[in-house]
């Protein structure tokens, strides 16, 4: 399990756990970040928020928030970086 923030652009992970206060977890869960949901990184630059796709929705996430979502890297995607 690794934090979402460590995934590169184009990589996907499967949500395993959310760390944070109850409100934070409830908010993310409503947006579709529930265990088992696949998440794909659309943008992850070195600074600023990430953009990820979960359940067909694009969500911008602060770097702190993205660090508290733990995912399982999905197979066959190691080191893939898209332009």
């Amino acid at each position: 399990m690794i934090p979402l923030i460590q995934l590169q652009m184009g990589q996907s992970g499967m949500v395993r756990a959310l760390h944070g206060g109850r409100r934070f977890v409830a908010r993310l869960a409503a947006l579709g970040f529930t265990p088992g949901a696949p998440v794909t990184i659309v943008r992850n630059n070195r600074f600023g928020p990430l953009i990820v796709t979960v359940r067909d929705t694009q969500i911008a996430l602060g770097r702190g928030e993205a660090g508290r979502i733990l995912v399982l890297l999905m197979e066959g995607q190691n080191g893939v970086t898209a332009g």
Partner: protein, 669 residues
């Protein structure tokens, strides 16, 4: 608003009673467009009782039957995590609307059905409005409404609200449902088997104590989700010993929310499986193609600058000439009024011409820029581009404890602070919004810049350009520093979590934008307009009485009183009086100085040392904003925060002025 209470009239009268429809939906699903399409100008914008969240209600008629529509705040779920969520569910539970229309976005059906999964647990019957069928098609997604209807057991109506199709069918369906011609027998989402036992246990414990009109099963579920409001409610309602048992159970299942949400998504997956055909993997929709440029770190920034450039170009080529033209028109009107009142006492004619018409004129001259600004704001929001701006600027704004959404209001403050304050409405969290309102007056508006541009050359000759740029840079640096300070020290709430949906792009709906501009402009005229008019008449009276000569007026007297303060900054009473009159409108600074000094070009440089001149320019740039801005601040955040804002700016501007003068004098300038 029509009474939301359950109508107790006998059945034969139900045809005459109005049916109350609540519009529910997640943000960005086009709920407002549907509301606007149905109600048009028959709507009322106010606040929810005792809340700062806007409440929109309206009426419409279909086949002679009258409907009252209540637009609920857009929320992702119905757990009491935010004020909006609490309002939405309280209205459905306590207000008992006859029908809830749940608006979902066909292009992101799975996510937007999450709210529906919650709505189906509440007592009101639900009609599903499947909006943005056009956007779904554009993204390559095909949906069969009848299949979805069969799965969910509730009426489903496909629409493209932005193009106006499906609206009549929607209201017809609502009518049939309320007349009992069609039925609503929803499939309700269930909880995971693992949690069924614990849910039952909680329900059994609370069953006898749940207050009306709540349902025990629903309350038990919300308790398990960790809902604060329900916890407080049941803590008060239950005997202490039983609450302790409930509390212990909840404590052992603290993470239940994830499983409950997961179960809802599993249920949604079953509901849509047969109804949705998804695009082939790797096929890019329109949004993905646009975003490959618009959220790109380099090209996205270039595009943002181009869009902002276009906005400013529009404001200046369209707004400024219109504003000047209206100003001339008002001046003409003032003169003819003065002429018409020639028989009356001079002071009365002058009050009407200068104080009242002048004040009203100022309100009117704000309109072109305000209207352009509201239209731009509505278009950026409606197309989905606003969220991209917030994403691109979030990093910069974050250092000041602000959300990326604060960027646009602050930036457009360079045009005028009034729309900048009004624009903070797009910021979701109250704290970030307040911080933005407090910082907004520090953005130098065109009127302040005009004063700087006129006065700087008089004092600094060839160096004027450099000094003017330096002043603006200093104002912005102070804004950033104050932001960091307020965020860290005074308003130290939780760090603003940045979780924001980037909606799919779609074409804006003209009617929606028109209504947005109309309602916001009207609200400005009604609320801020009256205050501006009153204050400008009072200041005019002070500058006129007792003798009719400005230099002998009460206002000048106040200026003399302020002389001791002025002395710390090397400023004579004339300069202090000019600052006072700048409260009506920043441009007044120049007019007042001309009256008090005569020829500015020779008199001003002689009256002030360079340090005092710089101090004056700094003070005037940071001083209390004009009355229009102050009135708008009051309208948006209330008396207490307006006072905080005024004191903050007063302290900041005078403090900076004293500092500049004293340091400058020490350095021998």
């Amino acid at each position: 608003m029509a009474s939301p209470l359950v109508n107790s009239s006998p059945p034969e009268q139900t045809a005459a009673k109005t049916t109350v429809i609540a519009l529910a939906g997640q943000p960005n699903v086009g709920k407002s467009t549907i509301f606007n399409m149905l109600t048009g100008l028959n709507q009322h914008v106010g606040n929810w009782p005792g809340k700062t969240v806007a409440q929109k209600t309206g009426t419409c008629t279909h086949d002679g039957q009258k409907f009252t529509l209540v637009d609920l705040p857009g929320t992702y779920s119905l757990t009491a995590n935010s004020e909006e969520e609490r309002i939405a569910r309280d209205y459905i539970i306590h207000g008992r609307p006859d029908i809830v229309v749940a608006v979902v976005d066909a292009a992101i059906l799975e996510r937007s059905l999450y709210l529906v999964a919650e709505l189906l647990l509440l007592p009101s019957p639900v009609v599903l409005a499947l909006n943005m069928m056009d956007v779904a098609e554009q993204e390559g997604i095909k949906i069969e409404p009848q299949v979805l209807e069969a799965a969910l057991g509730i009426p489903v109506v496909p629409l493209c609200a932005a193009r106006g199709t499906g609206i009549q069918e929607l209201i017809a369906t609502v009518e049939s449902l309320s007349a009992g011609e069609i039925s609503c027998q929803p499939q309700r989402p269930t909880i995971l088997p693992g949690h069924q036992a614990i849910l039952e246990k909680i329900r059994a414990l609370i069953e006898d104590s749940v207050p009306v009109p709540y349902q025990p099963a629903w309350v038990a579920l919300k308790l398990l989700e960790g809902d604060d409001e329900m916890c407080t409610l049941m803590q008060d309602a239950l005997p202490e010993a039983i609450w302790k048992q409930v509390h212990d159970l909840l404590y052992q299942h603290e993470d239940a929310i994830l499983d409950i949400a997961g179960a809802r998504y599993q249920w949604i997956g079953r509901m849509i499986r047969a109804a949705v055909v998804r695009p082939k993997v790797g096929q890019l929709g329109m949004t993905a193609r646009l975003d490959s440029v618009l959220t790109h770190p380099v090209w996205g920034t270039v595009a943002l600058l181009a869009v902002l450039g276009a906005v400013f170009w529009l404001t200046y080529t369209l707004g400024t000439p219109l504003q000047e033209w209206l100003g001339d028109l008002v001046a003409l009107l003032a003169e003819s009024t003065r002429g018409a009142l020639a028989g009356m006492p001079t002071w009365f004619a002058n009050l009407c011409a200068d104080g009242i018409i002048g004040g009203a004129g100022m309100v009117v001259t704000f309109l072109p820029i305000l209207i352009i600004f509201f239209a731009v704001l509505a278009i950026l929001e409606d197309t989905g581009y606003m969220a991209r701006i917030a994403y691109l600027t979030d990093r910069v704004m974050h250092t000041m404890g602000l959300h990326g959404k604060s960027f646009i209001p602050l930036l457009l403050g360079f045009g005028c602070n009034v729309p900048s304050i009004l624009g903070t409405r797009i910021i979701e969290t109250q704290r970030a919004r307040l911080l933005t309102v407090l910082l907004a007056p520090l953005v130098p508006c065109t009127a302040r810049m005009a004063v700087i541009i006129v006065l700087t050359p008089l004092f600094f000759g060839d160096m004027a350009g450099l000094v003017a740029w330096g002043l603006v840079a200093a104002a912005l640096a102070i804004l950033a520093l104050l932001g960091i300070l307020l965020h860290r020290v005074i308003l130290k709430g939780e760090q603003v979590a940045f979780i924001m949906e980037l909606p799919l792009y779609h074409l804006p709906n003209l009617r929606s934008i028109g209504l947005y501009v109309w309602h916001n402009t009207l609200a400005f005229l009604q609320k801020a307009g009256t205050i501006i008019l009153g204050v400008s008449a009072i200041i005019w009276l002070l500058s006129y009485f007792p003798t009719g000569v400005v230099t002998e007026s009460y206002l000048t007297l106040f200026g003399h009183w302020l002389e001791p303060v002025g002395r710390w900054m090397g400023l004579p009473w004339q300069m202090m009086t000019a600052l006072l009159t700048s409260f009506i409108a920043k441009e007044n600074t120049i007019a007042t100085l001309s009256i008090l000094y005569g020829d500015l070009e020779t008199a001003l440089p002689a009256a002030l040392t360079p340090s005092a001149a710089l101090a004056f320019l700094v003070v005037q740039l940071l001083f209390i904003p004009c009355v229009a801005t102050v009135a708008t601040i009051k309208q948006e955040v209330g008396n207490r925060w307006t006072l905080v804002s005024l004191l903050l700016l007063l302290g900041l501007s005078l403090g900076a002025g004293v500092l500049v003068y004293q340091v400058g004098t020490l350095l021998g300038a």
